[in-house]
């Protein structure tokens, strides 16, 4: 029984989550292309299957059958390791995200909150390794930019997370979702949400903060030397990161798998994962909306914003949250 409970069941659950995430990734590309097309008053993919629904499958087949090219000038081991290391953190975070009342996280640890913070810190490795091992100036510049950007935005992100933690008073994500909150707590959280979302955009290297891969300056940044399925892995890492961070934001700010005002949470607990998925889709729309609307800032503006604007704000926010928690809870 030891083996069954400790290995077999978690492996089955992880595989299910990964398969769902990979399907989600494939259809997120379709969702993004369709939405961007709508923003541009175009149709978007509409040839493969009805409404272009088979497009992601066609893309996947194409990526799989592409020739495997490993350039001669790369550091082979690190070069091959980088795409895997880019993808792994985005999947690892799902170990602790609670999916519903009857569907606890794969690893229902009491420190789920810290796990997210720790894994977010590891996320920059894939990009750094890719940039270094490619032995290419564009890749290296992309990787340097990316790691500086990720390290800088991690600081306000961490401070905001600490504030949420102070307000919740609990490291467990399940308790975070289940615990009732006063109206001013919700209000105080939501005031911070736009700033948190900016940090998330920078952490996931999403437009308008996609400076690690600025096409007009750096070819394709850290992934210049990658092709075929290895490029697809980087692509996957970016999109699954979007899904993962959306799920985190839904859990931290919008009640995760629960409906507002506690509607139906006891009647149909099986709905939990679907409610979470619905919230994730709305948040993903936000990512794409921002991409369609905003231009990319200059690199010094990006770094200046993190250090001169977000850092003081997040520090102030944390201090006020601490005071609020002490005096009103």
């Amino acid at each position: 029984m030891d083996w069954l409970n400790l290995l077999v069941i978690p492996i089955i659950r992880s595989v299910v989550i990964i398969v769902v995430l990979l399907t989600g990734f494939a259809y997120l590309t379709w969702y993004e292309r369709k939405l961007l097309a709508r923003f541009h008053v175009r149709y978007g993919p509409n040839r493969a299957g009805p409404k272009g629904l088979l497009q992601p499958i066609a893309d996947a087949v194409k990526a799989v059958f592409k020739e495997e090219i490993i350039p001669g000038h790369v550091d082979k081991v690190v070069y091959l390791l980088a795409p895997a290391l880019a993808l792994a953190p985005a999947l690892l975070i799902w170990a602790v995200i609670p999916l519903g009342k009857d569907f606890p996280a794969v690893a229902d640890v009491p420190i789920g909150f810290l796990w997210i913070l720790a894994i977010a810190g590891v996320e920059s490795y894939g990009v750094i390794l890719a940039g270094w091992s490619s032995n290419n100036n564009y890749s290296l510049l992309g990787a340097l930019r990316s790691s500086a950007q990720m390290i800088s935005y991690e600081i306000p992100l961490g401070l905001f997370l600490v504030s949420i933690l102070l307000l919740a008073g609990d490291f467990s994500l399940v308790n975070l979702v289940e615990a009732p909150r006063a109206w001013w707590e919700w209000l105080w959280l939501w005031i911070m949400f736009p700033l948190f979302f900016i940090c998330i955009l920078a952490e996931t290297n999403r437009s308008p903060f996609d400076l690690p891969e600025t096409e007009n300056e750096l070819v394709a940044g850290f992934q210049t030397e990658y092709g075929g399925i290895k490029f697809a892995l980087f692509f996957m890492a970016e999109y699954i990161s979007m899904i993962t961070t959306s799920a985190i934001m839904a859990t931290l700010f919008f009640g995760g798998y629960a409906l507002p005002f506690g509607i139906g949470s006891d009647i149909l607990p099986i709905l939990g994962p679907f409610i979470l998925a619905g919230k994730v889709i709305v948040l993903l729309f936000l990512f794409i909306w921002v991409r369609a609307s905003l231009g990319r800032p200059r690199y010094d503006q990006l770094m200046g914003f993190a250090w001169r604007t977000l850092l003081p704000i997040s520090l102030g926010y944390m201090i006020i949250t601490a005071l609020l928690t002490v005096f009103f809870k």
């Binding site: 030891d2 690190v78 420190i111 810190g121 490795y125 032995n135 790691s147 390290i151 490291f171």
Partner: protein, 177 residues
């Protein structure tokens, strides 16, 4: 059945085999740090070792310490080290010998430290909790309370040290007139 000259050791439990795998990973990482001929590979070995140590904490059911280890050592310190190496172009590519004139002295010092540490750790009694700790939250709360009561002096000293490091970094980064 004929008697075997050496008794077969019992098969490792799941817990033990996980520990062995993680410990092996840690040692391989540590070996890479000193033996790899490329500075960047050394740094990656260091990250692997830090990860392995975090894994050991997890196996020991000290999740909080394990996550803190990943957060601080893998997420921050190793990233900064790789970042610094990427900025020093000349050392990036090509093999460098890990040995220099001080190799002999370093080996003696390392061996001495190892002997002293092994002796100390071997002679210490390791207290084990009577009952398994069920609620991880309480452990973290106790840790926090400890920081502001029993260990407050050490905690404040660390805070001052970090502040000094921050101020020093700003002074170093300033434009020289």
């Amino acid at each position: 059945m004929p008697e075997l000259p050496i008794p077969i050791p019992p098969l490792p439990t799941l817990h033990e085999s996980v520990f062995m795998a993680i410990a092996l990973l840690t040692v391989v990482g540590a070996f890479l740090v000193v033996a790899a001929r490329n500075l960047f590979h050394n740094a990656l070995g260091l990250a692997l070792t830090f990860f392995g140590v975090a894994g050991v904490y997890f196996v020991a059911e000290a999740e909080f310490v394990g996550v803190a280890q990943v957060l601080v050592y893998v997420g921050a310190i190793s990233t900064l080290i790789t970042f610094a190496i990427m900025l020093t172009r000349g050392m990036m590519y090509g093999a460098t010998s890990p040995l220099n004139r001080q190799a002999g002295t370093a080996a003696i010092i390392a061996a001495t430290v190892f002997v002293v540490m092994a002796g100390l750790l071997g002679s210490l009694p390791w207290p084990v909790a009577e009952e398994p700790i069920v609620d991880g939250q309480i452990v973290i709360a106790n840790l926090g309370v400890g920081f502001v009561t029993e260990f407050v002096v050490a905690f404040l000293l660390l805070a001052v040290l970090l502040l000094v490091a921050l101020a020093g970094a700003i002074v170093l980064a300033q434009d020289r007139k």
